[in-house]
């Protein structure tokens, strides 16, 4: 643990460049209620101390720029530097959202074109770029229950979610005022249609589905599922976290989804920045377009401008206009790749996952013995030590642990307690993948020889292993 910024000896100078020769603040009487007399307790450091402190902290962190990061469901692909650079253009970064519309046409143009490109990639009819992240996109999508209100079907109070669903799905359902019902997974790893049918009652507003699922598998029965849902008058919701498997190959809209969200910080390569900001555009079919959160970007053949459907829109998801600084990187990504490039991304993402699955199957076989999509779910039961401990040893070989219980945000039911979800993404080379496989095998060998040694890994970091679900020290 490095010295805290609060514990650094205060130089006693602070930022002495906060002044303006033309405004002397010394004599001023501040006519405000509740003037403070005591110090706040902020540190007073010199600029070089601040730079050194935070530079040091970055050096105890790890990103895609540092190496493989096969965190399943998080799609940690390369984040192109050119996108960072262009997002920082003053004509984007230094624009105030309150400026007159005619002084920010370029903003609305980028957003408008991005909406259209997302329509095409996902097979939807309209997008709103408002939501701040995937979960916020989900919530926006679920707020579209207003559609049922308008249709006077107020009794649709239930959202169906798969048992393997990401935690945000049920949480969003609750936040949108719904109850959840869980649909189980069958032996082959896809949705149990029987269970679905038995839960599909008139109170169901929507089924939320990730496809490929968080088990890395394509829902082969998707058309049947869509048929069932629509026959029930319900909506089919697409959690686009795993879209990276499908670009240019199959589109959620064509599979029958009515509402979708995507995470630009996954499929579209925008940096996740240690937690965010991300962006979670929400898209719909035509009949739901009016409900989108606004403002959305619009175009009248001449100008680009914000617009919102005053009557039906579910309203604003946040202040401002969506994470423009993030969205513009997604826009750059699509433009750079083009249609063929995007398709190749998805092809290679799936290729890489299957290559890893094949390479690792001797020591960690797949949970479901079939081809996977962009990530593979492996069975850690045979590992002799916990998947958690196994993964920690990878750190010493500069491979970020994959997703597993206790690491990563995916939810595994009890019978998948030792499952490991690996998503290499398409930007790993064959050499990278071969290295990952060999690192896994090396650790596997180490376990055979000295399980205790592996159990106490990692050894190369500032701190030692943190046990799963450690208690906070107050």
């Amino acid at each position: 643990m490095k010295q805290s910024i609060l514990d650094k000896p205060h130089s006693g100078r602070g930022q002495n460049s906060v002044f303006d020769r033309e405004f002397c603040v010394d004599g001023i009487e501040f006519e405000l209620p509740g003037l403070r007399e005591d110090p706040l307790g902020l540190p007073d450091l010199t600029e070089v101390e601040v730079v050194r402190h935070f530079t040091e902290l970055t050096r105890e962190s790890y990103g895609v720029d540092n190496g493989s990061y096969p965190l399943g469901s998080c799609t940690m692909k390369y984040n192109p530097k050119r996108n960072d650079k262009l997002a920082a253009l003053p004509g984007f970064q230094r624009v105030h959202p309150g400026q007159p519309a005619e002084t920010m046409r370029g903003i609305w143009r980028v957003m408008y074109e991005l909406q259209l490109m997302l329509n095409e990639i996902l097979g939807m009819d309209a997008f709103s770029l408002q939501p701040a992240a995937g979960a916020n996109g989900e919530l926006a999508g679920l707020f579209i229950k207003k559609y049922f209100d308008v249709k006077k079907e107020k009794d649709r109070k239930v959202i169906l979610v798969a048992d393997s669903a990401h935690g945000t799905n049920p949480a969003s359902a609750t936040m949108a005022g719904f109850d959840c019902r869980i649909i189980s997974t069958n032996e082959s790893g896809t949705m149990d249609l029987e269970d679905l049918r038995s839960n599909l009652r008139p109170d169901v507003a929507a089924l939320m589905l990730t496809n490929p699922s968080t088990l890395g598998l394509f829902e082969t029965n998707i058309t049947e599922i869509a048929g069932l849902i629509h026959a029930n008058g319900s909506l089919l919701y697409y959690d686009g976290a795993n879209l990276n498997a499908l670009m240019g190959i199959v589109r959620p809209g064509d599979m029958g989804f009515d509402v979708v969200h995507i995470n630009t910080h996954k499929t579209l390569s925008t940096p996740h920045s240690g937690g965010g900001p991300g962006a979670g555009p929400v898209g719909v079919k035509k009949f739901l377009q009016a409900y989108l959160p606004g403002p959305v970007a619009d175009y009248d053949g001449e100008d680009y401008f914000p617009s919102v459907d005053k009557e039906f829109s579910i309203g604003r998801m946040k202040s401002g206009f969506g994470h423009f600084d993030v969205l513009v990187k997604a826009y750059c990504y699509i433009l750079t790749n083009g249609p063929d490039g995007l398709k190749e991304c998805s092809e290679n993402a799936v290729l890489n996952a299957n290559y890893l699955q094949a390479g690792l199957r001797d020591i960690i076989p797949p949970v479901f013995d079939r081809l996977c999509m962009h990530e593979c779910l492996l069975n850690g039961d045979l590992l002799r030590i916990s998947a958690y401990s196994f993964a920690k040893r990878l750190i010493d070989y500069k491979v970020h642990p994959p997703t597993l219980v206790g690491a990563g945000c995916v939810y595994f039911s009890d019978d998948l307690g030792s499952a490991i979800l690996i998503e290499p993404t398409e930007t790993e080379t064959k050499a990278d993948l071969d290295r990952i496989v060999s690192v896994f095998k090396m650790v596997w060998d180490e376990v055979l020889h000295d399980a205790e040694f592996v159990n106490n890994a990692p050894y190369s970091r500032e701190i030692s292993k943190v046990p799963m679900a450690s208690k906070e020290v107050i």
Binding site: M1, I5, F23, I28, P33, L35, P43, D44, E47, F54, E56, E60, S61, G63, V64, D65, P80, R82, G91, F92, V95, H96, G98, T103, M104, R105, I107, I121, A132, A135, E138, K146, G167, T168, M175, C180, T223, G248, S273, G275, G276, P277, G315, G320, H323, F324, C332, L335, G338, P339, K343, V350, L351, N352, Y355, A358, I395, Y411, K430, V466
Partner: protein
Amino acid sequence: MAGSYNTHSEQTRSEMLGEIGVESIDHLFDDVPGEVRLDRTLDLPQAISEWELESILKSHSRCNQNVDDFSCLIGGGKYNHQVPAVVDAIVSRGEFLTSYTPYQPEMSQGILQALFEYQQLMSKVTGLPVVNSSSYDGATALVDAAWMACSIQGRKRILVSSAIWDEHREVLDTYLEPRGVKISMVGICNRTGGVDRNELEERLGKEEFAGFLFQSPNSLGIVEDVEKINRIIQKSDCLSVLSFTPLLSGLLKTPGEMGVDIVVGEGQPLGIHLNAGGSSLGILSTKDCYRRFVPGRIVGKVTDIKGNLAYSLVFEDREQQVARDKATSNICSNQAMNAIRACIFLGCYGEAGFAGLARLNYAKAHYLRDRLGTLKGLSFPFSGPFFNEFVVGLPKSAGDVLAYLTQQSIFGGLDCSQKFGLDHAILISVTENLSKSELDHFVTQLGEAIR
């Protein structure tokens, strides 16, 4: 083959397919039913090179005016404060920028520490011990606080000052209505522009609310008397929820010291670019006793197997990945890097600088207010104290005046006509970024505009 970031040559792909035991890339997608597969190429522009991309984006960006080229007197919740170059330099480092949520504490002590220090420094600014490691923005943080109040109090009714930002009000509606929370409003005092404390007292006396949500400076720029308002709230069984501008703590007692229960705020002023209304930072802070109601990530200290202290995400049983439909919120990705921006910002300015910044904002805004006082035809409808933003009444249409100013390369403020009984009025904001000569120039130009 196309795409700048794709890896494999055709030959490598074949080799890999061989290892997998599949004949072609196509077969990898056998699970996808044929009838839904896309049988054409996506209708998108063809791939382009880095320099083409750059020229397109530069051309789009040039279709916008920006606050470097214009004097910006627009505020309204987002402000053209200086973003220290140090902030950009640090957050662009790949170890931070290209990392995911730090699920593996062993790999991420640095970023966890930075987030922890954000919580600590922000706690100094709010005066309350618990800070989450970010909500999306000031508006959603207010929603979060409202829902916290409802959960804490077990009551789905909240009372809200009518002088919060319009956008915040809209966002409250979006989130709370579907969840069955009823929102009531309290008006302002027409003289001061602050919350109508009599009305507040009356409403609180009559009805039970989970919380009273108010804002300072409010949407008219008036710095509320938080202590007085709080005293009124405390007489009822209702939580006080303040949405504030963090910079205010450079001058004033912290909201925590003044007794607020939940403090939220828009963190954009703290080292975050305007981003055309893009990503910002939601500050959320509260008392220890309400910790389990807090949404979002919290970083804390744990011990590693050797018993040494280590930073880690903690208290996850409130969160969606564990509590699922019982979670305090669905938030997963948040605004981590913007929280770190705020942390570095506070580190750069420090005690002296932060106070100095607040003072300078005050001084410049009051200088402008005084100078405008000399212009004939303007009025100042509210007498309450203000910080760096205030309302000016105009003798003619705000739209026309602002349009004229735009032509003079001045973003002159936000139109706030027809609100709170105002006729023609604009909300003007001043930051340290405006020089004396820019302010003087603005006075001259506004004078022209209202002639």
